[in-house]
Subunit: 703 residues, 2 copies
């Protein structure tokens, strides 16, 4: 039995991450299927089986022709409402469809925001800034609970279906983290230890990205690079296992029916040429510009929301944004479609079977090989480019107002869409430039003959998407690896990397924080960035409390204070703990006692221990004098922390910050030649760091 | 100009890793090309152009037939020595070839070991244990110098060409680290700061694995998981850049002429089935068994070498091992060939163009599609399996004696070869089992029809190779990612992961350390493992010096010791530093002073400062009394470290070890109520950890 117990203990971590991975995969599958179904519900419904989405419906209909507009089984709302055929009716049908599209969008958005508002306010947003904060040691009760999970899952389906400019990929991380939190309570080793639980949460974050992009390795690196604060190596391997389990489950569910975990999986394998690095770097720079523009605007708008009356009407705001989004996005085919589907179209190359507007090239249709090379574009391509440009403006602007409203919302997908549109436009431009100048020596190696030039605009879209996402989030390695796993080929890693690097450098030059760090700062979470380097010239003595002219630090002596005196300290101060010193004259440090422990011990003693009165002396020392005339002494050595972390007053703040980060401290005591001088809490460190960054030090929240 | 300087400062890290990456790629390319050429030299030489290797030679010969035996341009040694044709002559030719093969092997090995012996003794072995130790903060002078780089590069070519059972993949990490060390001196920011230099070395290690396996992401994870001690996130991105630059350069050199960075790149894309997981897990268990068997045997042999006379004749040992290897490996085709080439053959599937023994299946040669399915094996396959089995025994045993001899030697390739042989044997067994029982319901889903079963023995070889390597090194994520990058497809990640996990668990159950950690322990390097968890019940007071009955700690008082007294302390002790206390009665800690600084300061003062004599008092305090009757005081406050890290005597050793690891301490002072009690150095911590692990604490080396 003991062996079983110890085996359980050793295995519980693995079993826990396995369960978390499976649960995250299941949640993702359900959300994907639900969101697809509800998105299609905006356009119509399946006659025979309402639970099927458009694709499945047409599949079951066995129609020979299946075009963009539907099949015999799929009924659009205008058909159901009995619009007649004919020219005038077509116009009427368009209006009916339009109105119903807007109506459904508003209904979905309202449901989503009401769900969030009434069941779990924490379910809004992407959740990544909060998870970063939680993993750094801050506790937000209920943020990862089952109600948040449920509300976020349902709210995500609704919000995506409403056609808002948001994605479900970021919130997957939150959903997975909720699974992680819930399952960790099944294993006392993890549920009852916050530090251990964070290991599970790190693994869960990896699983979230793994199911969002079908990229288990990218997920682990995302967790390592972006989310996790302290990532021990044991966690690396477990996170990988968790991410893989999640991807495996999602693949078995196969929500998109294409054997891939994401809609926009890339299947081509075209080469790229060295001179193409110039447009790739250009795309990277654009991505960085867009990223810092977006971050600044979004933060400004969120700050405005916080400080104005707007923040008091979250549901109205959601409805307003939805109304604007729905009305503006319907007329443009590219904004009307699902954003994932848009990205898929932008990423893909034009094969023989593609009849979309973007693929209207003047090809020699009899030869299949002409589809693997670039040719002169037809008129429809230019029309498509105009529509894409309008879509770009719309998406780029509306996302600023969307990210931060009170529905679950991620911004991976909108950012990627913006970048992909820019990339595709640049790509087609480049393609036409090369095709029309194939004799130019600069382009010669890209064209084997007059007909055979290979430029893949889809690759530009991919690079652009990576650049824009990189500019917004300032992810680096994990982003490149995620994109690499989307394509499965090492050959695009150099273009992607160059674009992401350029994007990060341009972005960092214009504004330091990624969107998640900016939101952490905006919300004032107590997050001590582990990546930044500080060059302090200050020492511990400058930061510690008490300051020069403050009253002295509130301390307890080890063998001379009465119960009454200690209780007076409780009344007068609200500190969470008190240093214990040898005597109030010498101030030599003995230990540290927590307020909670001390209050409990005294209350207990007063109730249960005979002879303890207000005059009793509280002893933290090992020897207690036995004087029968005095009231019974109160011995509290066992609640004293005899090993508090101390530093000297001359310690540079650089070292202090490092100790706080790496050892996960909450406070440290400052001494000089062994005498206690003061205390530095995490709060003081955060204030100090904020001051160095020219932020308002008072804006930081504390629990 | 100032802007240029600050830009240089910001960019120097990137420029440095770029240079390191390029240099690592160049070195790898040169070594690859040189090793291939010299390996072929054992068999023959190109008539027209001796600098071409066999493949290039035959390529330039434009022969229509190019079989295993050579082409018109390629002359084997027996041809050159003028052996006649005919049956008897063929036998004679075989003997001539055999003798020359052995002769060349011995010559190469002798050269390699003499190079290492006379120029750079540090160039032997794989170098990974030492690099791990260096990255943990220990300094080994000259280990990463230019002579080591040169000797290791040349020695590696020679050792690989000698046909020894070793690989060049592990030593690539050492070569890259040497490049990193050399280039870091170009940038004062990195060259003059050991901690900063370690960042460059981490990146270099990633580049080493990147060029060894063509796996930049795997390289970064290897550096993170296996090599690096402390891996800040900034390093992640730089390491990735470095690894990618190295891979890019190596790809441009294209040493194998196949557009891939490794010989054994896998190009198939076959599916696998769920029931195949059983043999995969079996392979994993075998890998774990082999790994711990190999580690135990190798360590035992290395210990025997250390403690016996054998260790005094390194060159004789190398020659002996080479002689045995060459004599035994020549008769067997599979052991005679380059190990990378063997792995390539084992990994590959049998296509229509493959005419090797392993691909002798009874196929319907008219239909191409029959090559994508499994069929009944022919006789030659069984012959090949026997030869492989013999090769397995030979390689498995000889590697034990090879890893550790005084030539550059890695064990990635031999371990992978052993695993790949086992895997291929199991794979062919499984294949034949399924083909012959295709009606069995258990196998039904693997066979579409009687002729169409798809089992890929090459995949088994790959899984087996990963399992064996995992068993030996106990790598996990990085190994899976390296194998994933070799195949470029996500679909094999689940089999690989399961096998590697099983291998690690089986291996860990039988013996805790991977081969690198075992060699670190064998050599007694002061390496504080950052992965292991310790459960200490001891406190700092039990570990600190002085022990209970020792003389008290040697301290310096801040304002009462004379120069003479301090010099007496120098004579009597050899400590590297001394705590400074308020007075010898109170023992309240003021600071810490390094022996080196103090000696220098006193010597300086005695020479240059007027009035300083043996009777002068050394002052570390801020106020120095001004008494004209006393000899001139010596003020040394500026060399005093006023912020030494201190702990209390009650601190649990768990916390102490964590502080040493995370803060990179060399010593910490132990206090009780502000009074100095003792000191704990890194040495004490290492001894304590060794004691807990039941090792001999005196076996640890210190610099």
């Amino acid at each position: 039995w003991e062996k079983v117990l110890s085996a359980h203990d050793a295995w519980s971590g693995w079993v826990c991450v396995l369960l978390v991975g499976v649960a995250a995969g299941l949640c993702a599958g359900i959300i994907d299927i639900g969101a697809t179904w509800m998105s299609d519900l905006k356009e119509g419904i399946c006659k025979e089986a309402f639970w099927l989405n458009k694709e499945q419906c047409c599949w079951s209909a066995n129609d020979t022709t299946y075009d963009d507009e539907g099949c015999s089984q799929w009924n659009t709302w205008s058909e159901i409402l009995g619009a007649q055929t004919g020219k005038k009716a077509a116009a009427g049908g368009y209006i009916v469809k339009y109105l119903l599209y807007v109506l459904w969008a508003v209904v979905f958005a309202m449901l989503a925001s009401m769900f969030v508002h009434s069941f779990a306010p924490y379910a809004c947003g992407s959740g990544i800034p909060e998870i970063k904060t939680i993993l750094s040691g801050f506790i937000i009760r209920g943020y990862l609970g089952k109600w948040t999970l449920l509300t976020k899952s349902v709210g995500m389906m609704l919000a995506v279906s409403a056609g808002l400019s948001l994605g479900k990929e970021g919130p997957f991380v939150h959903v997975a983290a909720c699974c992680g939190n819930i399952f960790s309570y099944l294993f006392p080793k993890y549920g009852s230890n916050e530090a251990k639980k964070r290991e599970i949460l790190s693994a869960a974050a990896a699983a979230g990205v793994s199911v969002a992009f079908g990229a288990p390795i990218g997920g682990v690196l995302f967790s390592l690079e972006e989310v996790s604060y302290y990532f021990p190596l044991k966690t690396l391997w477990r996170s990988f296992f968790c991410a893989l389990a999640a991807a495996f489950v999602l693949r078995s569910i196969n929500p998109f029916g294409n054997d891939h975990l994401v809609m926009f999986y890339v299947e081509y394998n075209e080469p790229w040429y060295l001179q193409e690095l110039i447009p790739f770097i250009f795309l990277g720079a654009l991505g960085g510009l867009y990223g810092s523009f977006f971050n600044k605007m979004n933060i400004a708008w969120c700050r405005y929301r916080k400080n104005s009356k707007l923040g008091q009407y979250p549901i109205v705001e959601v409805l307003g944004v939805t109304l604007v989004t729905a009305i503006l996005s319907y007329p443009n085919k590219y904004t009307r479609m699902n954003t994932s589907e848009l990205i898929r179209q932008l990423f893909s190359r034009c094969g023989a079977e593609d009849k979309t507007m973007l693929c209207d090239y003047n090809r020699n249709s009899t030869s299949l090989s002409s589809y693997t090379s670039s040719t002169v574009a037809g008129d429809e391509v230019y029309t498509a480019l105009w529509m894409l440009f309008l879509g770009l403006l719309f998406k780029g602007l509306i996302t600023i107002f969307t990210f931060g409203i009170k529905v679950p919302s991620g911004l991976f997908i909108p950012s990627m869409a913006v970048g992909a549109i820019v990339g595709r436009i640049v790509g087609i431009g480049m393609e036409q430039l090369v095709v029309r100048n194939h004799d130019n020596p600069f382009f010669q190696n890209m064209c084997q003959s007059k007909q055979f030039c290979t430029i893949t605009p889809g690759l530009y879209a991919m690079v652009g998407a990576a650049a824009a996402l990189g500019g917004v989030t300032r992810m680096t390695v994990s982003l490149v690896v995620i994109m690499f796993e989307l394509t499965g080929g090492l050959q695009y890693i150099v273009p992607l990397m160059l674009a992401v690097m350029t994007s990060k450098w341009v972005g960092d030059a214009l504004g330091k924080d990624g969107i998640y760090d900016a939101h952490i700062a905006l919300n004032g979470y107590p997050y001590l960035d582990s990546k930044k380097e500080f060059t302090h010239t200050t020492i511990a003595a400058d930061v510690m409390r008490p300051r020069r002219n403050d009253p002295p630090l509130c301390v307890i002596t080890q063998d001379s204070m009465t119960v009454e005196e200690v209780e007076a300290i409780f009344r007068d101060t609200s500190h969470n703990g008190f240093p214990v010193v040898l005597s109030s004259e010498s101030q030599y440090l003995v230990g540290f006692v927590l307020r909670r422990d001390l209050m409990l011990a005294i209350a207990n003693a007063r109730k249960n221990q005979e002879g303890v009165v207000s005059n009793s002396i509280v002893y933290f020392s090992s020897q207690v004098p036995n004087n029968p005339n005095d009231p019974a002494p109160l011995k509290l050595r066992k609640i004293l922390d005899m090993a508090p972390i101390t530093i000297t007053d001359q310690t540079p703040m650089e070292t202090v910050v490092e100790m706080f980060r790496k050892l996960g401290l909450r406070q440290t005591l400052v001494t000089h030649n062994g005498r206690l001088l003061g205390i530095i809490t995490k709060k003081d460190v955060l204030r100090h760091v904020a001051q160095l960054g020219n932020q308002d030090p008072e804006s930081i929240l504390f629990n």
